[in-house]
């Protein structure tokens, strides 16, 4: 079997986190570990096409990286430092002599908790997670978040330097800290996903690569922490959202809203997987915010048409979510479901209590509800407002088109603005 560059790139993405995490543990230094893994892949690019892919690519990479690291240290380090580092490299890898830590042992878990340590800014957490765990290059991450490469490079360097100088530990948090620390990891993955789903700015609605990356990392997390229902809930939420991607844009790349989507375009395999996860989560009876959002998405994907959606179930799930996360964004989403159940007037009254002025979704929902009440001039103004607030090309064009339609309706019905 011939090994192509694409094959090696796939292995790089899939195994980078595992390899780097094992090497960080052995070397005690992130940069050394990254360099060693990079070296090993350079060797792989030479050898694999000639000799074929080794039976365990990850094992091969780790062994080669370890050897390369020893070579590198021999070349570069002072006598004394070399002695210390060599000891670390040959230290047994069974964790003996280390303080008792959390229940799970996979090295990648240590890595993700270090990347998402609360002493790092959210931006740094995201960049480090994608770089170290996800194996994305700095230019790839910079491109995904539309920042200059130099900015992203600096962000990563600064974060790694803080880990070193502050002594941010490389370990899975103790049980009593785990819920708070896990929440930080989940938030990072979800932010990567939502940026992939609807980009903050740009010519395309989303960045499918980023969403796929978030799903891959969420799968890793669920594999590593199978007993954490919120991790599974987050994965389910991502899968059910991602399943609708093919129907979210039309042939011209324009946005299609949920109610108007061609549901036959939804990715059935993702829907089934997401729904199965939701059911498994709910059976555990420890619903958290991600599980509830996944459950809401499961109700949507259960309905063959928008009209068949079980809105009372959706409202009930939002009520539950509000008890855990009493935010105006959740209240806004609940109001959308209330509109389907009790009519637009009832929902509009709910919106008046929210402090979300300037939030695109608020103006979209209000515009939509006003339109249903045939209050066209007000509706057109809200669509306009929403369009002005969006920096995402397809989204803002969609909103402007809606504004024009509402304005047209206002002119036809003789309303004055």
């Amino acid at each position: 079997m011939t090994v192509s560059g694409a094959d090696i790139a796939r292995v790089f993405r899939a195994e980078h986190g595992r390899a780097v995490s094992v090497l960080i543990r052995a070397l005690g230094d992130i940069d050394l570990a990254e360099d060693a893994v990079q070296d090993a892949f350079t060797v792989a690019v030479e050898r694999w096409p000639r000799d074929g892919m080794p039976p365990s690519p990850a094992g091969w990479i780790i062994t080669t990286a370890r050897r390369r690291a020893i070579d590198r240290l021999r070349r570069e380090a002072t006598r004394e430092a070399r002695h210390t580092e060599a000891l670390a490299l040959h230290a047994p890898d069974d964790g003996s002599g280390l303080p008792e830590e959390g229940p799970v042992r996979d090295e990648r878990l240590r890595l993700v908790f270090t990347c998402c340590h609360p002493a790092l800014s959210r931006e740094a957490q995201i960049a480090l997670t994608l770089r170290l765990l996800g194996g994305l290059t700095t230019p790839e991450i910079a491109h995904a978040f539309l920042v200059p490469e130099s900015t992203m490079a600096q962000r990563i360097v600064r974060a790694k330097s803080k880990i070193r100088s502050a002594g941010i530990p490389y370990r899975v948090p103790r049980d009593e800290d785990l819920p708070a620390r896990l929440a930080s990891v989940l938030a990072v993955l979800y932010l990567v996903f939502t940026e992939g789903h609807t980009a903050t700015a740009g010519a395309d609605l989303g960045r499918p690569d980023l969403a796929a990356e978030a799903i891959r990392l969420a799968r890793v997390l669920v594999e590593l922490m199978p007993d954490e229902p919120e991790a599974a809930g987050l994965l389910a939420l991502m899968l059910l959202t991602e399943a609708r991607r093919p129907a979210r844009t039309d042939a011209a790349g324009e946005l299609v809203v949920l109610a108007e989507q061609d549901r036959s375009l939804w990715d059935r395999a993702l829907v089934d997987e997401g729904q199965a996860l939701v059911h498994r989560c709910l059976r555990r009876g420890a619903p958290g915010p991600y599980q509830l959002q996944a459950a809401i998405n499961a109700v949507h994907t259960d309905a063959r048409t928008a009209a068949e959606t079980d809105w009372s179930q959706v409202v009930a799930l939002y009520d539950h979510l509000l008890r855990l996360a009493p935010t105006d964004v959740v209240r806004l989403n609940r109001a959308v479901a209330v509109a389907e159940l009790d009519g637009p007037q009832a929902a509009l009254a709910l919106l008046d209590r929210l402090d979300l002025d300037g939030y695109v979704a608020l103006h979209v929902v209000r515009a939509e509800l006003l339109g249903r009440l045939a209050r066209w001039p007000e509706s057109a103004a809200e669509w306009d407002r929403a369009a002005g607030l969006s920096d995402n090309g397809p989204e803002s064009r969609h909103l402007l088109a809606r504004a024009a339609r509402a304005a047209g309706a206002a002119a036809r019905t003789g309303d004055r603005r």
Binding site: P118, A119, S165, A166, G167, I168, P169, P173, D177
Partner: protein
């Protein structure tokens, strides 16, 4: 083992009248006792009013006189009010202590490592 500085930032002016300083000090002492018990204690202290500060500037040329200014280095609404220096090999434990100090005083607290590992200062008692 690393050494860390925990700085407390106080708002300008006298402490609010409803603040029971005795309780604050007692709460702080509980944290300090735990730091001592963990073998991390180096130093802690509260600073006098920032109006008592003097700022001194002097170029490295060895010629120019020092310039003294009456007042703190930076005029701000909040200033360094006290500090704790401690040692630990566990950053999460240090953050935990800092959270307790913040909780005991209600003041924002900054945690910052000294450069390098080990003891950054001269500690004759260790010799």
């Amino acid at each position: 083992m690393k050494t860390y500085l925990i700085s407390l930032f106080s708002p300008d002016g006298p402490p609010p009248e409803d603040l029971d300083l005795t309780t604050v000090m007692a709460d702080l002492e509980v944290v300090n006792a735990d730091i001592r018990a963990a073998g991390g204690w180096v130093f802690a202290g509260g600073l006098a009013d920032q109006a008592s500060a003097t700022t001194i500037r002097r170029p490295r040329d060895g010629v120019a006189d020092a310039v003294l200014t009456d007042g703190p280095f930076a005029e701000a609404k909040e200033h360094l009010g006290g500090l704790t220096i401690l040692r630990s090999d566990d950053y999460d434990v240090v953050l935990g202590w800092a959270e307790r100090i913040a909780g005991a005083t209600g003041l924002p607290v900054e945690v910052r490592p000294f450069q390098g590992d080990g003891d950054p200062g001269q500690a004759p008692t260790d010799q």
